[in-house]
Amino acid sequence: MIKSIYIIILSAILLPACSEKQDTKTDKETIATMIKDEEGRENFSKAVSDSQIETLNALAASTEPPVSVRERTEVKEEQSTQVPVLPEKMIAGVEVRSALPDTYYNGAYIVEEVAAQSIRGKAGEADFTIYYKLPDVAAFNLDKGKQLSLDYNEATKDGSAHRRVVLSDKGDLVMLALEEGSLKPYETIIKDLRLSVSQGDEKQSGTVRITFNNERFSLKQGEKVLKQSGRHTYQFYLRSSYATNPDNVTTEGNPYFVKLYAYVVK
């Protein structure tokens, strides 16, 4: 029975709205008579006699209507940056600014300008600038108008941003930035450069095995090493080798990931 009391009372409280000009006392008596449950009627009458009901009018009411259409508030879009900026304190990294119609390209690249930590040029007809911050190199020794080959691919796979930027000159490596991962220990082969890369183990601070020009060597993350090939000296720098249990559901992105850079230093 008590369950119905509230509902009756809730309804009854509404009645004064129809009787502003009537005597308040009469309204409350009327309300009380509407409460069929004896205990509820007594409680209501007691509340009236204790002057509790008068305080109700002073209470703040919600300003929200009882029914509305679900809001979908739009916020204006902003683009933080169009030109990649490598943080001043960044140890190493490569980013590109591309006017290509898509996020992959494999073809000719004409150098237009070389500056400290950037190479500007054309990938086909599209402007394509590489921004980099790499240990022990400021500007590459590339002549304006020189034609190179560019292998570029950026894509988000399994929640990780993959990035591959390879500049080469008739099969000779100029610069490689490899930021790629996998659902299993990462490995890749780039035949044109006579290069293969594979993660050594599943520990988070793992090593990476590299084969370059038939020479095998390993790097731990943070390590760099010089390798001679033909008339060039290359620096290989393993920025990081990440590996975690692929069965962890809290892992965002690839459970295996390698960031490796290799580039001409002289």
């Binding site: 509230y6 209501f44 007691k46 929200e64 509305s68 979908r72 204006k76 960044m90 898509d102 990931f257």
Partner: protein, 553 residues
Amino acid sequence: MKIIRPLIISSLALGSLFYLSGCGAPDITTFTMSGPERSLVQLTGDIALASVVWDVGTPDERTIPSGFVGASFFSVPPGATVGNHSFRLERSGSSSATMTFNVTAPVPITPPRLDYITLANSEFKPGNLVNCLVVVQGANVDAGAEILMDGVAMGTMSLKALRNDLFGINPATLDFPIYHFVALLGSTGDLPITSVHTFQIRNLDGQLSSVVNYTLPTSQATVDSDGDNLPDVWERGGYDSNNDGTVDINLNALGAHPFRRDLFLEVDIMNSLANPPANAVFTTMQSAFANAPILNPFTPNGINLVIDHSGTVPYWDDIDMVAASDPSIGYINFYDLKATNFNDALRGRIYQYAIWGNMRRNNSSGVSDPSEGGGDFTGPGDDLIVSFDDFSAPYQTVRSGAETLMHEFGHNMMQRHGGFVHFSNLPCYNSVMSYSWQMRTALSDANRRSRAVCAPLYYNQTGAVEANGAVFATTGIIISYSDGMSRALTENNLDEPAGVCNGIANNWNGDADATDAAVARDLNGDGDTADTWRDYCNWCNLDFRGPQLNGAN
């Protein structure tokens, strides 16, 4: 005096009505003139205390249920035939003019969905008893539906309603099209404190929602009316972190209310980032929570999300939650930064903590720390990282930032990449928790083509399509979790012309067209095409316990 508190609480909503005219003949100023069977009809005008009479002047003339404060809303009765129906309002023997409502179509009958149970009052009594006003709400609940407690109908009033926008999607292309949400109010009567009871909603047509258990509160000191894991006494009077009698965080001043769910998030932004988040990132996410389909008694709808993004942390190239810090490679462990930048003693019970950093070593855009075991989440988290500062320019947008922050925040509230599962590119899961939604506009056209979504729901725009994978142009950003409406997808019976929703064709098998029927595709890459995938309601299943359960970590 037992009755006083319920009266006072109830009148919070009704106080304004004391000043309405409410006398004489009611009058309708505006109303929805047409809609399908069971539509929620909204009326304005002099409607206080009025009742709704349906099918006026016909043998079926009858009074039908309406809203808490009078005829502010009602549901077109189940079974109403297609065509015109007359209705009018009545009050104290007077009637409004008779109006016509056009029922445009029958609606397939689906059960109501019970989404939330909260409290609008708790009256503790001698003998370890408590009498609660319960607010039971859900999707496609009729005005006039009943609350069943332990299988027995209680006196029920329809408190509030919220109409939903389907953005022009044909409801027939959704498994559970949500036309509206309604909150119901009822009283439990005197029951033992901490006792567990079952609740259901019964619609006007007799259909029942699923059964939900609810535990009644234990004491005035611990009652949490809105279920946000913040006791009402904190939300009213403030939080005393060290129990020294002094309020340390005035939650009420931050917008907290005991009847509206509140979330608190501190975001410290790394110094020297190339693309630090714009303020709009945070307002976009706050809007998403404020617009959540949650009907709060006597307060605004939605969830109040408080974000303090005033702090900074030193720059590191890489940040993650595992492995010890290693300055030689520019790597910092998240918890080393948290220890020196987050006042856990003061805020740890209230706030979740985030660092907006540069990048993770696997170039993922973020990570969070819900507990896990056996291949699933076992408990909510309270820490997260956002880490896509080195992603390319198309990613550096407000939308991508807000989507990523909301994605990781969702994990901390036990939301998965695939709703019921962790599969991360589920086409029928309309949520920023899906990798197909998060950062979608930054993907290549080819990537978008391969990650089908229901475009009108992703863009929140009628008529939205991604022509050949291109981003649909919008005037602004709206992001959201899923309401759980989508049509299920069966891997061995995918329909290309039907797509994911609304007949927006999708090339499931990757051939040259999108016209094939009964196509098979292994959507989750598990090696078979035997699975059926369903949408999942994130908003109905947020877990607010993260800050309490995670301590300093």
